[in-house]
């Protein structure tokens, strides 16, 4: 293992207006290892990756690639130097075919012209190595995000990388797809590729990684062998303090949710459906009740929730709110009825990156009041300050641009925006996806508190543990159908939910 590092950076510094994102960070990556980059939201992981791949120029420090000092001036140079990246959000062109996305920029050519047949044939071979059964000449956007992510990995792998950077590739993959990915990662590692892996799933880190580098607040915390650092130590190094009660947060409330006071439902859905999205389902949510939606990726969890919010038009069924029929044709109608929806796709469906934290937070409230009754600047500031403090949004600057914030902090801004409107029903679609364990626990605690105070919550998450920890009842979806609603009365285990998903009938 004591060879030359294939990639080494020393004293990297990067500033954004008002934020020092990286402050003198050192980092080494050896050939033939899987290396985890760990840190809380806003610790500087994404920024470091963007510096390594030339998306951002570094403000200071040096970079040594295969023994030579280099300056990476852009993604193209990074690729040519042998650094390929797969980002958290799929960065491919949805309008092009799968084959083109794999080969664009390096298409096989004959006599200067693109050899389409050869390109499709080679793409099909590459895709098969990942055991994916897809038509490579179909446009990329006809496939799910998970498949698109795998296509991005196929591309990165095929760019004959010395260094492969995987930035949260697993956050939208289901279990089988993750193990598929790990198989490929191990194969590549054995071939001598250096893999930098970022994930918030600690189990995954311990399953696949050899070493790890921990960042905190833009500084290097340390570099460790995975085998020499246990999970609790790792988390305390990420958070920077012995977080008392972390164990309690992480596991304490599981499976012990007592049912809330029985009463009339706030919202009742009957036979709600949309063709191609979700089959007719019934659902009733009472005030103070948390209902979890569980199911594999693409099982219709999000689609079911979008119907409740009026984000998609229903084909059939009805929604009653407080007993009277409500026609939720648009999100505006839903908001007027006190329904809030935090979407899973915060980049494209939730936040406005060009606006400040304050502006994003007051957006929904302002919309609910109507533009004729503007909130005063003082009121805006007070609200922003309060929620920044309550949710511990970092950096704690209400005038920072949202696009400069890390993923977890963006999620908190989105949450603040909806909480401020004091909704009766809060729909959370993957609120903890791609955020670190500390913030995750905070958000879970927040959800429990809100329900305690009488808010109805619909909680969607790919992590069964999390769903079970918070929910009073769990709706299980499979193949776009709600197959069961399980009461979370202590006897409900992840295994039982999984069995329900697998068999399509209540277990």
């Amino acid at each position: 293992m004591r060879q030359q590092p294939v990639l080494e950076v020393r004293g990297i510094r990067k500033e954004f207006p008002g934020v020092v994102a990286l402050d003198g960070v050192d980092f080494r990556l050896f050939p033939g290892e899987v290396h985890a980059l760990m840190g809380e939201n806003g610790a500087g992981k994404s920024t470091l990756i963007k510096v390594l791949t030339g998306v951002y120029p570094a403000d200071g420090g040096e970079m040594v690639l295969a023994g030579e000092r280099v300056r990476i001036a852009g993604p193209l140079q990074a690729q040519q130097a042998g650094i390929s990246t797969v980002y958290q959000e799929v960065n491919l062109c949805p309008n092009l075919s799968v084959a083109e996305n794999i080969f664009i920029g390096r298409e096989p050519r004959r006599l200067g012209l693109i050899a389409w047949a050869e390109m499709r044939r080679r793409a099909a071979e590459l895709v098969r190595t990942l055991d994916l059964d897809i038509d490579v000449s179909a446009p990329l956007d006809s496939y799910s995000i998970a498949v698109q992510q795998l296509v991005a990995i196929v591309r990165a792998v095929d760019v004959s990388a010395k260094v492969l950077i995987l930035d949260e590739p697993t956050s939208s993959l289901d279990r089988d797809e993750v193990s598929q990915l790990f198989t490929v990662m191990r194969r590549l590692r054995d071939q001598g590729v250096a893999i930098l892996f970022v994930s918030h799933f600690l189990d995954q880190i311990y399953e696949i990684c050899d070493r790890m580098t921990v960042l905190r607040n833009g500084r290097l915390e340390g570099e460790y062998l995975t085998s020499e650092l246990n999970q609790v130590d790792l988390v305390s190094r990420m958070i920077g303090s012995e977080l008392a009660g972390l164990d309690q947060l992480a596991g304490g409330q599981r499976g012990e949710r007592s049912a809330p006071a029985a009463g009339p439902a706030f919202l009742e859905a009957e036979g709600l459906a949309r063709r191609g999205a979700v089959e007719p389902y019934d659902l009733a949510i009472r005030p103070g009740e948390v209902i979890g939606l569980a199911g594999l990726l693409g099982s219709g969890r999000t689609e079911a929730a979008r119907l409740l919010f009026g984000a998609d038009h229903k084909d059939g069924g009805a929604v009653r709110i407080n007993g009277t029929e409500a026609d939720l044709r648009t999100p505006r109608d839903a908001i007027a009825h006190g329904i809030a929806f935090c979407s899973e796709n915060r980049k494209t469906e939730g936040l406005v990156g060009e606006l400040t934290v304050r502006e994003n937070i007051v957006l929904a409230l302002q919309a609910a009041r109507g533009w004729t009754r503007p909130l005063s600047r003082t009121a805006q500031d007070a609200l922003a300050e309060r929620w920044i403090r309550t949710l511990d949004i970092r950096p704690g600057d209400s005038e920072a641009l949202v696009r400069n914030l890390s993923g977890g902090n963006q999620q908190k801004v989105l949450l603040a925006r909806w909480l401020i409107t004091d909704p009766k029903l809060l729909i959370l679609d993957e609120p903890t996806r791609g955020i670190d364990i500390g913030a995750k626990a905070e958000i879970q605690k927040l959800v429990a508190d809100l329900a305690e105070k009488g808010m109805a919550v619909l909680f969607i998450s790919a992590e069964l543990e999390e769903v079970l920890r918070l929910s009073h009842r769990v709706g299980v979806l499979r193949d776009r159908r709600m197959v069961a609603q399980l009461r979370n009365d202590g006897g409900l285990t992840p295994e039982r939910v999984l069995a329900t998903i697998a068999s399509g009938a209540e277990q």
């Binding site: 980002y87 960065n91 309008n95 092009l96 664009i104 006809s142």
Partner: protein, 323 residues
């Protein structure tokens, strides 16, 4: 999943299909309605009368595919006719020197606009609007009058008929079709062409995949500039004059042809052959109205306007279902 993928592939072709059906049914309707409409020459005349528009629309297709727009094309066409007429007639320069010079001018102008758009991250709309005013204004610094061209090479180009059996086309048609063929190969069979589509699909992704975004963007505007200048040259063959009021509103015809041809205004999706069909549809509307005889030529505009609405709504329906 495979049915889904198949559906997605077909979906991209719907506008093209609609345009083809529209073209055929318009031609059939015209043939049934009017004597002498059903002939090969009527079809070829479509090309003869619209060769310059076709060339300009090809350039526009590149720009629109990247998600941009070029409003300067009409003005560049006018400037090209003006510079050609001025140099050939009033300075006695040989056409063989003037034509390459005009083409170079148009290309350079387009390149500069593309460079400004990329470097300063300014909306293409506003940069090419400035280019439009500039080019149109420059026409009048040469002359506020129309300059007729009497040079024998130009009149020869105007009068030559290339026989095709009993029918004929003009040299301009040949040039325009060569441009279409070349552009087709470039768009569908070269890396540059695919980069154009990638840029229209997602500029951010194109950048992260290491594609030459800056070069691609400036090049599409340079291509549009070249096509506009060539369109101007073809227009001098057709009109035998240079005039600052030539091709007023041509940019809008070109955009209309591109949209009716099935290219998405948001970029990333479309076919070059669609643009050819779009130009033919515009030409056919004009032909039908001239055959009809009593309607004023402004009805052409009204019909184009109606069609544009229909096609834009169609595009919207197709992309909205794609989520």
């Amino acid at each position: 999943m495979n049915a889904n993928a198949l559906l997605a592939r077909v979906r991209g072709q719907i506008p093209l299909l609609v345009t083809s059906v529209l073209l055929v049914s318009m031609f059939t309707a015209g043939s049934v309605q009017y004597d002498g409409f059903f002939s090969g020459q009527v079809l070829l005349n479509l090309l003869i009368d619209n060769a310059f528009l076709l060339v300009v629309a090809v350039g526009m297709t590149f720009v629109v595919l990247t998600g941009g727009i070029d409003l300067s094309v009409g003005a560049v066409v006018a400037l090209s006719t003006m510079v050609s007429a001025w140099l050939v007639e009033q300075h006695g320069w040989p056409p063989l020197l003037v034509i390459p010079l005009v083409l170079l001018m148009g290309t350079a102008g387009g390149w500069v606009m593309g460079w400004v758009i990329h470097t300063f991250e300014i909306q293409p709309f506003i940069v090419t609007l400035a280019g439009m005013f500039l080019a149109r204004g420059l026409c009048y610094t040469i002359s506020i009058e129309s300059i007729s061209i009497t040079d024998p090479s130009y009149t020869a180009m105007a009068q030559t008929r290339i026989p095709l059996g009993d029918l004929f086309i003009s040299p301009s048609v040949l040039i325009a079709l060569l441009v279409v063929a070349a552009a087709f190969v470039v768009l569908h069979y070269t890396r540059f062409g695919r980069n154009v589509y990638a840029l229209g699909g997602s500029e951010q992704s194109a950048l992260l995949m290491g594609l030459p975004v800056a070069r691609t963007k400036t090049t599409v505007y340079a291509i549009s500039g070249f096509c506009s200048a060539l369109g101007g040259v073809l227009l001098t063959f057709y009109m035998l004059s240079g005039y600052g009021l030539h091709a007023v509103g041509l940019e809008l015809d070109a955009i209309a042809a591109v949209v009716i041809g099935g290219t998405l205004l948001t970029g990333g999706s479309g076919y070059l052959l669609g643009t050819l069909l779009g130009v033919l549809v515009l030409g056919l509307i004009q032909t039908i109205i001239s055959f009809q005889g009593t309607l004023s030529s402004w009805w052409t505009r009204i019909v184009i306007g109606g069609l544009l609405f229909v096609f834009i709504v169609l595009q919207r329906l197709i992309t909205a279902r794609r989520r």
